[in-house]
């Protein structure tokens, strides 16, 4: 779609709506909340920065610098980041790690974060729990292979698809010299966990492919995050099955967030986008809920043709 002036409608949408929204929503402390005028949080801040970094519109370096400053001051002493002010370390550590990993001057902060990630083992797959599971009688709740381990939303809980996908991406975004030795083993275990948690017909939900013998339904967002994390991994057959699920489901997507992430995912695999009943910016204009930062950021990323999904590491190791 091309406007008379030769500027694409998507470019105009990014220039006239996404970028002004993101710049206008930045708080004085440099961070972003989920909504305009809400408290700064690490997650929306990371998505906003990623979008502004990747968008085709020149953005003031001051906005990005103050965003980074917000992240730096929000990091906890143990190297992690909390999902909200006052909270303990959580999955958003992976998102912050990916943002900072492209700058050599943040090596100390990123290394601390990666060490925290590699020390954080979910509790559901400890040897003790796996033994208990085997001794338990009756129909098993799920069909998980307990030998795999990913990451949880919060420490010392269970592995789930989305935090595992974000952690895989964070470790990959770090220069290898910054990663602890055990990171390679954690990546293998986490990759195995993602494949183990894939739904029988392809795609992922939060991490329950089967409950009491009933197949779980895949969802777009976890499927997108998982496929993006597995982008460089082998096993074409299972990935193809999941990509096919996403392609087949694309036309039925009814939300901006899912359509944006589905588009980013399919394009990153070089797949042609199927027809949808509405374009992303049409759906954005007609969306049901008020605008939130992460949805604008995902939309901005989806409409930015030269995006790097995660910032490319340009540091000489």
């Amino acid at each position: 779609m091309v406007e008379p002036q030769g500027i694409s409608a998507e470019y105009s949408f990014v220039r006239d709506l996404c970028v002004p929204f993101l710049l206008g929503a930045q708080n004085r402390d440099g961070g972003w909340g989920f909504e305009t005028n809400s408290d700064s949080r690490v997650e929306p801040s990371c998505w906003a920065m990623r979008a502004l970094w990747n968008c085709p519109i020149p953005v003031s370096s001051e906005a990005l610098k103050s965003g980074v400053d917000y992240l730096l001051q929000a990091q906890l002493k143990d190297g992690s980041w909390p999902a909200n002010a006052g909270g303990a370390g959580s999955w958003v550590t992976s998102l912050a790690c990916s943002i900072l990993a492209s700058e050599k001057e943040y090596q100390r902060e990123v290394q601390a974060a990666v060490e925290w990630l590699c020390d954080d083992y979910p509790r559901d797959s400890t040897l003790w729990r796996r033994m208990l599971q085997k001794l338990r009688s009756g129909e098993p709740v799920d069909n998980h292979d307990g030998s795999f381990r990913g990451w949880g939303w919060t420490p010392h809980t269970s592995s789930w698809v989305e935090p595992t996908a974000f952690a895989i991406q964070a470790l990959r975004d770090c220069p290898s010299a910054w990663r602890p030795a055990e990171s390679a083993a954690r990546l293998d275990l986490a990759t195995g966990l993602l494949y183990d948690r894939m739904c029988p017909g392809g795609g992922w939900n939060c991490g329950n492919p089967m409950v009491y013998g009933v197949a779980g339904e895949p969802l777009v967002l976890p499927t997108g995050w998982a496929l993006l994390a597995l982008h460089d991994c082998p096993d074409g057959e299972r990935k193809t099955k999941s990509l096919n699920w996403l392609l087949n489901h694309f036309a039925k997507i009814s939300s901006v967030a899912s359509l944006a992430v589905a588009r980013i995912t399919l394009e990153s695999y070089g797949r042609e986008l199927p027809r949808s009943h509405r374009t992303l910016h049409e759906m954005f204009d007609a969306r049901a809920l008020s605008i939130t930062t992460e949805v604008v950021a995902w939309t901005c990323l989806a409409l930015s043709p030269k995006r790097h999904w995660f910032p490319k590491t340009e540091i000489a190791n």
Partner: protein
């Protein structure tokens, strides 16, 4: 406690709800109300979620009773794409524009709240400012069995106020702290002022997501959420005192025993169904 017969989602819903709220003389004039719906996941058939017709009718009734503002809110647990869930249940078609009426509790600003009951090992939770700031909190739940808790009614529905933006999707920290214990802790700090259960079509078996639709033809109302849930269980043909968290809620948060519950409307015997449960919960069956 009021139990009303309602056979479908088209007829007389508003009238039934309004009459019930009037009986309780709910004190909402000039106040802000939050209807905490149960929106679990994508549900084109409207089986796992509170039916949008019930949410819309309840909202209209609270406005008619003079509420200054009536928000609808939830923080879906298994899927962060709340817009997709709302679109799948067609809430917009029942309510109109949602931008100013709906609160995604997963993404709300939060406040640290100490948990005085200490039923679970959690000492505190971060909870949404919207929930803590409204004048009148209403749990608008669905009549369902639950594969881990036995049943999910108005008390379990309050799991949805715990924000995914802090604890993830699902809010797994609550599972590790014990579902039963967490239900008690959450309701002790954010006890609903009123509860409505949509039992027009409930869910039996492997609920709360993968169960089977079960028409029960009732709406249940009350200002004691424990009594409402106990009655919900009895409508399902289940024994509330054998639901772990309800038995304990009956000593902390409200009334469980029939003799302590003043009930009007339909007699229980006339609306009692027989909801199937997973084998692990066969002890609940009357």
């Amino acid at each position: 406690m009021i139990v009303r017969r309602a056979t479908d989602y088209q007829k007389d819903l508003e009238q039934i709800i309004l009459e019930s709220l009037k009986e309780f003389q709910v004190p909402v004039r000039g106040r802000t109300v939050l209807l905490k719906a149960n929106l679990v996941g994508l549900d084109p058939l409207n089986v796992m979620n509170t039916h949008p017709a019930v949410i819309a009718a309840a909202r209209e009734c609270f406005l008619q009773l003079g509420a200054a503002q009536v928000f609808i809110g939830d923080g879906p647990a298994m899927d962060r794409d709340t817009e997709a869930i709302l679109e799948s249940v067609k809430l917009r078609q029942f309510i109109g524009p949602l931008q100013h009426n709906f609160r995604d509790l997963n993404l709300d600003d939060v406040v640290r709240v100490p948990l005085p009951t200490r039923a679970s090992r959690l000492k505190e939770l971060y909870l949404p400012k919207t929930v803590l700031g409204v004048d009148f909190l209403v749990s608008v739940a669905k009549l369902k069995t639950h594969h881990w808790a036995g049943v999910t009614l108005s008390l379990k529905n309050m799991f949805g106020i715990v924000p995914g933006g802090c604890y993830g999707w699902p809010k797994n920290v609550l599972h590790w702290a014990g579902i039963d214990n967490s239900i008690l802790d959450i309701n002790a700090v954010a006890r609903p002022d009123f509860a409505i259960i949509d039992g027009i079509v409930g869910m039996e078996g492997n609920g709360p997501i993968q169960g089977t639709p079960k028409p029960a033809g009732v709406l249940i109302f009350g200002d004691d959420p424990v009594a409402v849930d106990a009655t919900g269980c009895r409508v399902m043909g289940l024994r509330p005192e054998r639901v772990n968290y309800l038995a304990r809620a009956g000593t902390l948060l409200g009334n469980l025993e029939t003799k302590k519950i003043h009930q009007v409307g339909e007699k229980l015997e006339s609306v009692r169904s027989s909801f199937s449960v997973l084998p692990a919960f066969s002890k609940l069956v009357e």
